[in-house]
């Protein structure tokens, strides 16, 4: 079993400063995946596991911060080696960020680390 890695950076504009930003991460292609979220400079992990409707806090407070999300996707589905994920940020533009790649061998893991920079 091998782990393929990729590091990304995405810029997000907080479009609604007064309301809270809510994050949902979905893993597609019938694969299995979990996440670890940590704000840059923060000593502790903010959240981990399956992320559904996670409150990241007020939009105004997020501006200037960077949220690092590590998503580890296991290739469980024997019909495809494709791994995909979607990051939905409510109150941000763009509201959805897509990730798509493939593992080299059946049953491998893809670990994608993305820095989401809020402005």
């Amino acid at each position: 079993m091998q782990v393929k890695t990729r590091d990304d950076t995405k810029n997000l504009t907080v479009s609604n400063l007064s309301s809270n930003v809510i994050l949902t991460i979905t893993i597609g292609n019938a694969q299995l995946g979990a996440n670890v979220l940590q704000f840059k400079g923060a000593p502790d992990v903010f959240a981990k596991g399956t992320i559904t409707n996670l409150d990241l806090g007020p939009g105004l407070a997020l501006r200037g911060k960077t949220l690092n999300i590590i998503t580890n996707i296991l290739d469980h589905n024997p019909s495809t080696n494709g791994v995909v994920a979607t990051y939905f940020f409510s109150g941000c533009t763009p509201s959805a960020s897509l990730f798509s790649d493939t593992v080299d061998n059946d049953g491998d893991i893809f670990s994608v680390s993305t820095d989401f920079i809020f402005s």
Partner: protein, 321 residues
């Protein structure tokens, strides 16, 4: 139902089936749908199989295929399925598109060329609520091991691999499922595709009922195959229809299986069948009692019964299955 009662029922089944006539060497495993029907029909065993994951890779694989290779793909995943979660997949009762598998192979020599194409699909797949709970439990363990940083992930790889294997094994044995497959083989007497002509085609049907936490598994299978085209010989087994039933029981110390296969030779309008029963009883970690009964010989109405014991000197635990 106790093991004793199940034994009695099976022995009655054996007795009933023994009243049939001749048998042949076809096994129930021969009727099982092959993973890649297109490759099986051609009789080729390619060392590498290309698995394109998008249309661009498919076009390259098809070019390679013409030169002599093998491919296997599921077109449903050519487009990323962002919203298709594992939970959706597990709860799909009619996963026609997500389980479709297409396989193809070509073989080329100086004097001949052949092309085989096959399709396999699982139109019905149902998991009981109890089995879905078991799936969910293993899935949650995997997710817990994945919810770590990269250093932690490296330490969890062995455990994740083991759990993924367990989960795949469970997903491969739904409570009830139906699988269908078909394959076509074309051959050319020259080394060009220009003279390609139909040579053989086949179809498979598998039905399995595997009640959750119930020791018996019921399997029904059917297969049809025929040689076609102007050069098709009218020999034995050039066109046949096979069907079979299988029953298996597995417990801690006792396991047994019974299978019945009937073949209709459509070329000669004749039929023959095969019946076997095999059982093992674990006396202790070193001794296993074995028994087998079978009508397994063509043109002869004999019954073979073997009783015996297997002795092991290894310190490893002996499994009866």
């Amino acid at each position: 139902m106790t093991a004793k009662r199940i034994c009695s029922v099976l022995l009655l089944v054996i007795g009933a089936c023994s009243a049939f006539g001749q048998t042949d060497s076809i096994s129930i495993n021969d009727l099982t749908i092959p993973t890649s029907p297109g490759l099986i029909l051609s009789g080729s065993s390619p060392t590498t199989i290309e698995r394109p994951s998008n249309p661009k890779m498919l076009s390259l694989s098809l070019l390679n295929l013409l030169g002599g290779s093998a491919i296997e793909f599921n077109p449903y995943y050519f487009k990323p399925r962002y919203a298709f979660s594992f939970e959706d997949y597990a709860k799909q009762k009619f996963p026609l598109l997500s389980t479709i598998g297409i396989s193809a192979a070509t073989t080329r020599t100086d004097t001949s060329t052949s092309l085989s194409v096959g399709v396999r699909v699982q139109p019905v797949r149902i998991f009981s609520q109890a089995k879905l709970k078991e799936v969910d439990s293993i899935k949650q363990h995997i997710l817990d091991l994945l919810a770590v940083g990269r250093t932690g992930l490296a330490q969890n790889l062995a455990a994740i691999e083991k759990l993924n294997d367990s989960l795949r094994n469970i997903m491969a044995k739904p409570t009830f499922d139906i699988e269908l497959a078909g394959a076509y083989l074309g051959a050319s007497p020259t080394n060009t595709y220009k003279d390609l002509g139909a040579k053989k085609w086949g179809a498979w049907l598998n039905m399995m009922w595997n009640p959750h936490r119930f020791p018996l598994t019921f399997v029904a299978l059917a297969r049809y195959s025929t040689l076609i085209g102007p050069g098709a010989p009218n020999a034995k087994d050039s066109a046949y229809f096979d069907y079979g039933l299988s029953l298996s029981y597995t417990a801690t110390r006792l396991d047994f299986s019974a299978e019945f296969v009937e073949r209709h030779d459509l070329s000669y309008d004749g039929s023959y069948h095969r019946f076997t029963f095999a059982g093992n009883f674990l006396i202790n970690s070193n001794i296993v009692l074995v028994a087998s009964i079978g009508k397994n010989f063509d043109k002869v109405n004999n019954i073979l019964t073997v009783l015996g014991a297997k002795f092991g000197l290894s310190k490893e635990k002996v499994k009866t299955n």
